[in-house]
Symmetry: C2
Subunit: 200 residues, 2 copies
């Protein structure tokens, strides 16, 4: 993914940069990528068109930036939540909870990634493929330590785990005003299945 | 979901109706709902604007129609594939395979449903909630027969199973020219996890 953006170098610039980011998030989520123009974004962000191009080469550049940011934040919240944990079982549980807590806070995240199906399918594919690859790499380490059963294809396991996280996340998002206790409940239920089905 | 469409009553009408359906599927999948106009659809379908309104009240009416058709076809292919099967394990396996075979044949299906996030979030939510509810109902019957463990919340199980089907489906769609043997492989791997994690 080629990054056609430049970060702000001054405090004032940073403020404009952040206003563009915020406007982009809202508009892409509300109307979708194709229905949003750079004009819409600068009008909402209240910045000049020239200011937009200081930071982003195109509308697509902003979309890529937001998607990367989302991916980074998800990974960061997982890293944060799993710090110090060593067993894959504990890491999986904490990571799942962190992911769901993140999408409650940032429900636009789903929209942004699924929207890529209409922006450019390759983005969508790359996004989940790269998640899958790092998942497989991590699972392999724990498999080598004997923590999970060794008779299931790890690529399939990675897609199963991503599918579970995304859809159990939807289950929570569909509730009115979901609370942390709701998240704990579905994480517990999910872990029952994984504890017996995946882990040794 | 209010259905603002009328089926064709003549052979000629049916031909026009089907041309509209086909054009709608292609355009919604290519550019998304918001970027597609009724004018685009009738131009692609090569029908007069008046003809469009004989069958559909609006652009949204066509979208609803397509989504309902997709949902019906998925359920139909699952019903077909599971005919005569009695154990939930066998039903789950056959249903998963039927779903993936369907999305290979009709990859636009994913786009159409995930696009609803931008058309109207309520459609998206209703779609998965109604799938979840009928899943729970069916799982309960098999739970009553002792076929699955009785210590996991069935709503969570339904979202887990939908998530697995959707993402293992993506895993297959991401391959170049996926074959039935690829589908059999991931279905087998997935069933290993479910056989131990969910079923008795």
């Amino acid at each position: 993914m080629k990054k056609n953006f430049r970060r702000a170098k001054t405090k004032v610039g940073e403020k404009s940069f952040n206003k563009i980011i915020k406007a982009g998030k809202i508009l892409f989520a509300e109307s979708g990528y194709h229905s949003t123009s750079i004009n819409d974004i600068i009008a909402k962000a209240k910045v000049a068109v020239g200011t937009y191009y200081i930071y982003f080469n195109s509308k697509l550049a902003l979309y890529h930036y937001l998607l990367d940011e989302y991916q980074d934040k998800i990974r960061e919240s997982a890293r944060e939540a799993t710090k110090g944990l060593t067993s894959r079982k504990d890491i999986e549980r904490a990571g799942l909870k962190a992911f769901i807590m993140y999408v409650i806070k940032e429900p636009l995240a789903y929209k942004l990634i699924w929207e890529s199906l209409f922006v450019n399918e390759k983005i969508f594919k790359d996004y989940y493929q790269s998640f899958s690859e790092s998942y497989v790499e991590n699972l392999q380490k724990h498999l080598d330590k004997g923590e999970l059963r060794d008779d299931i294809d790890l690529e399939t396991v990675s897609f199963i785990l991503m599918g579970i996280a995304n859809f159990v996340g939807l289950q929570i998002l569909f509730k009115d005003n979901p609370q942390e206790t709701d998240v704990d409940f579905v994480v517990n239920e999910t872990m029952k299945l994984l504890n017996r089905g995946l882990f040794n």
